[in-house]
Structure formats: structure tokens, C-alpha cells
Amino acid sequence: MTEIGLNHILFVSIALFFIGVYGFLTRRNMIMMLMSIELILNSVNLNFIAFNKYLWANKMDGLFFTIFIIAIAAAEAAVAIAIIINLYRSHRSIDVEDASDLKF
């Protein structure tokens, strides 16, 4: 078809994955951490789609997996945001570093 092969897309997804990881590890705002998670999940989705397209087009496993991941990501995000808002109510902060009463 074109020169664009599987590896190109995998490069994009892996890069996106680790961009997400980087964000998750460094951002202090919990909502931004959540956004990073979304990036991670999207990179996985991209993986599944790419594999489905290039390698295993005879079945639609990857595709369906992607759909379910999207659904779950929504649920997860919803619960996470609920928790963050609750936390914000009690801590008056959404800085993740402030939420460290529990330690050692």
C-alpha cells in the first residue's frame, strides 16, 4: 500500500504512551494526571487497531478490545473525577503532593 508500515504506527503509539507516562509522573495536578492516563489508554488503543489492521485482520479482536477500552476509560475517568472532586472538597487542593497524609 504505502511505505507507512506497522512500525511507524507503533512508534507513534509508544511515544504517546511514554508521553502519557511522563505526564503522569510529573504533573502535580490530579486532573492532568488523569489526562495523562487517557493518553496512555489511547496509545494502547492505537496499538490494538494497528495490529488488527496490519497483522490480524482476519478477526476483529483488536478492534473490539479498543471499543471496550474506550468504554472503560470513560467509566474510570468518571469515577476518578468524582474522587478528585471529593478530595478537593476535603483538602481544598488538587495537588497530588498535598494528598500524602498516608505514608511510611
Partner: protein, 171 residues
């Protein structure tokens, strides 16, 4: 290099750059917008890959749902979130190194791997095919996961309601 290639590269670059900006800008609202762009970029790649249904879902759920939810929550928590102190430099460096190492290592593994796909003819990812399978109970049917996800969503909703709804303080 064909036009398709160029489109892919553009899409990829767009996605990655906006993704990167999303996790690095200090302004949280901007960050959300960058995320939005990045997600749209991915949807673009799906289109490019001719998985239109997924692309549509991506836009509907992510762009229409999750990002809106996120922006909504940003508004809710704005007074605290607006002026967060910046991340310490050490944290950035360690995070960067960790991510970079992970990226390098993973990429190395992927590039070294010789992917061998099937030679069987592929299935058109059409809405009809997807729809049939999604609710099918026979082979290649996905009705069980569908049910599971629905319960999951139900549970998530219940959880969200209990947690997030501001309840009157009991006497």
C-alpha cells in the same frame, strides 16, 4: 513519498506534539485543549487506517465525553488548580529519564521483533460487522463483554453519585 504518507506523518506529528504539550504546559485549561487535539489526531489516524467506526467512537466518547468531563471538573476545581506551583525540576528529570528509558527500551524491543501476521483475508471493519458481533453470542460474538461493561458502567455511576454528590451533613 505519497500523499498518504505525508498525511500520516502530519497526523502523527500533530498527535505527538499536542500530546506532549498537553502534559507539559503549565496552564491547565490549555493542557485540556491540547489533549483534545491530540485525541482528535488519533481519531485522524484511525480514519487514515480506514477504521471509520472507531474514529467516530473516539471522537464521540473522548472528545464529546471524557474531555468535556475533564474540562467540567477543571472548572469545578479551578480556584485551586489555576495556580499550582510548578513541578520540581528533579521530578521532571527523573520522570523524563524514566519515560525516555522506557520509550527507548520498548521501541528497541518492538523494532527488533519480527511481526508475522495472518495471511487470511481480513474482515471489513464496517458498522454492520461490528454491530453483529457486538451482540452475537456465537463464535466471535462479544455480547458477554458487552454485558460486563454495562454492569461496570452502572457500578461506576453508582459510585460517582455516592462520592461526588454533595450530601447534607448528618445531624
Amino acid at each position: 513519498m505519497t500523499a498518504q504518507d505525508i498525511i500520516f506523518y502530519l497526523l502523527a506529528a500533530f498527535t505527538l506534539v499536542t500530546g506532549f504539550l498537553a502534559v507539559t504546559t503549565t496552564r491547565i485549561f490549555r493542557s485540556a485543549i491540547f489533549l483534545l487535539f491530540s485525541l482528535i489526531g488519533i481519531a485522524g489516524i484511525y480514519f487514515w487506517l480506514e477504521y471509520e467506526f472507531i474514529a467516530a467512537v473516539q471522537i464521540v466518547v473522548y472528545v464529546g465525553g471524557i474531555v468535556v468531563l475533564i474540562i467540567f471538573s477543571i472548572f469545578l476545581t479551578q480556584e485551586a488548580g489555576a495556580n499550582l506551583p510548578d513541578t520540581t525540576i528533579t521530578k521532571k528529570i527523573t520522570g523524563g529519564i524514566a519515560a525516555a528509558c522506557g520509550f527507548g527500551f520498548t521501541l528497541l524491543q518492538v523494532l527488533q521483533h519480527n511481526f508475522t501476521g495472518t495471511t487470511e483475508p481480513g474482515i471489513e471493519p464496517s458498522v454492520a460487522n461490528i454491530g453483529n458481533r457486538m451482540l452475537g453470542v456465537n463464535e466471535f460474538g462479544y455480547s458477554l463483554p458487552f454485558e460486563v461493561v454495562s454492569i461496570l458502567l452502572l457500578a461506576a455511576m453508582v459510585g460517582c453519585i455516592v462520592i461526588a454528590l454533595k450530601t447534607p451533613v448528618q445531624k
